[in-house]
């Protein structure tokens, strides 16, 4: 019984680490947004205010998938739904 619980916890932690990997792709997308914004500002410095606020909204939109991965990792680590199921199963 002890070994199965340890196995479930270990798999959950590995899964949490994998869920955080989508931060890599999110960061790549965000870097693209920032590069485009900097190019736009360099071309038209007088429009920097509008470009900056639009860039922040775009960054927030692109960040969403990264945040979802982070929340999945947090749920797996701190509020794992599998452990109560397992404890009910053996009881």
């Amino acid at each position: 019984m002890q070994d199965s619980l340890a196995f479930i916890i270990a798999v959950a932690q590995i899964a949490a680490a994998l869920a955080l990997f989508n931060g890599v792709i999110t960061t790549l997308g965000q870097s693209k947004i920032v590069v485009s914004a900097i190019e736009a500002i360099a071309r038209q410095p007088e429009a920097s205010g509008t470009v900056t606020s639009t860039m922040f909204i775009g960054l927030a939109m692109g960040e969403t998938s990264g945040i979802y991965g982070l929340l999945i990792a947090i749920i797996l680590l701190f509020a794992n739904p599998l452990i109560p199921i397992y404890l009910n199963y053996i009881a």
Binding site: I67, Y68, L71
Partner: protein, 226 residues
């Protein structure tokens, strides 16, 4: 390291258990701070003057800045929404910043952020129906009738993604800061100050701004003729 939402007291009101959690208590502290600040500004300002000076100038500057945000994000039709969003902005900002004083930020609880996102959702639907009448309801069936479930899911995903964005950012900042606090002593010298400055101040301000601007953009988009 404690990232769980502790239950402080449990009241029993007519057979219904009412849990006073850390989030609720810190929300009260935040509300109290905001009320005290507002009353202080109002009392020290005296009467309204035609030519603003001192605190009245600051207050007018803030309101004018926020009116500009509303005008740019949603449009001239929604200037009356600025009142609600200025209040929401002040509350979310204060509850993000309260983490500096060692309190658990109220926005690190999904209930708080989802309440604001649900208000935004109601406003999106209400403004869409008010300004576009039947055309808004028809837009759910837009390219074809088959797309109705897809449009519905897309509409329901808005409050979820709005609330998760704020919640995830604040919670991640809180977890990282509390990880540093439980680190060995040589990591606890200057790092916590930098963490607080970045996650509570910088990230808090940015996320509050983004929450308000995204809400306003959604509302403006729903009421816009396409």
């Amino acid at each position: 390291m404690d990232i769980n939402n502790k239950v402080l007291w449990i009241f029993d009101i007519f057979g219904v258990e009412v849990w006073i959690t850390q989030t609720i208590f810190n929300t009260w502290i935040t509300i109290l701070l905001l009320i005290v600040l507002a009353v202080l500004i109002r009392v020290t300002m005296g009467g309204w003057k035609r030519v603003p000076s001192g605190l009245q100038g600051v207050a007018e500057l803030l309101v004018e800045k926020f009116d500009n945000i509303v005008r740019n994000a949603a449009g001239e039709k929604f200037m009356s929404l600025g009142n609600w969003f200025f209040a929401a902005f002040a509350f979310i900002l204060a509850s993000n910043i309260v983490g500096i004083f060692g309190l658990r930020p109220p926005t690190a609880d999904w209930a708080t952020t989802f309440a604001f996102a649900a208000a935004t959702f109601i406003m999106i639907q209400g403004m869409g129906i008010k300004h576009r009448k039947g055309k808004y309801l028809k837009s759910f069936f837009k390219p074809n009738v088959i797309f109705f479930p897809l449009n519905l899911i897309g509409e329901l995903a808005r409050p979820v993604s709005l609330s998760f964005r704020l919640f995830g950012n604040v919670l991640a900042g809180m977890i990282l800061t509390s990880l540093i606090y439980s680190a060995p002593y040589y990591l606890r010298v200057l790092l916590p100050a930098a963490m607080h400055a970045y996650f509570d101040l910088f990230s808090g301000v940015i996320q509050t701004y983004i929450f308000c601007v995204l809400s306003l953009t959604f509302i403006g988009g729903a009421a816009e003729e396409t």
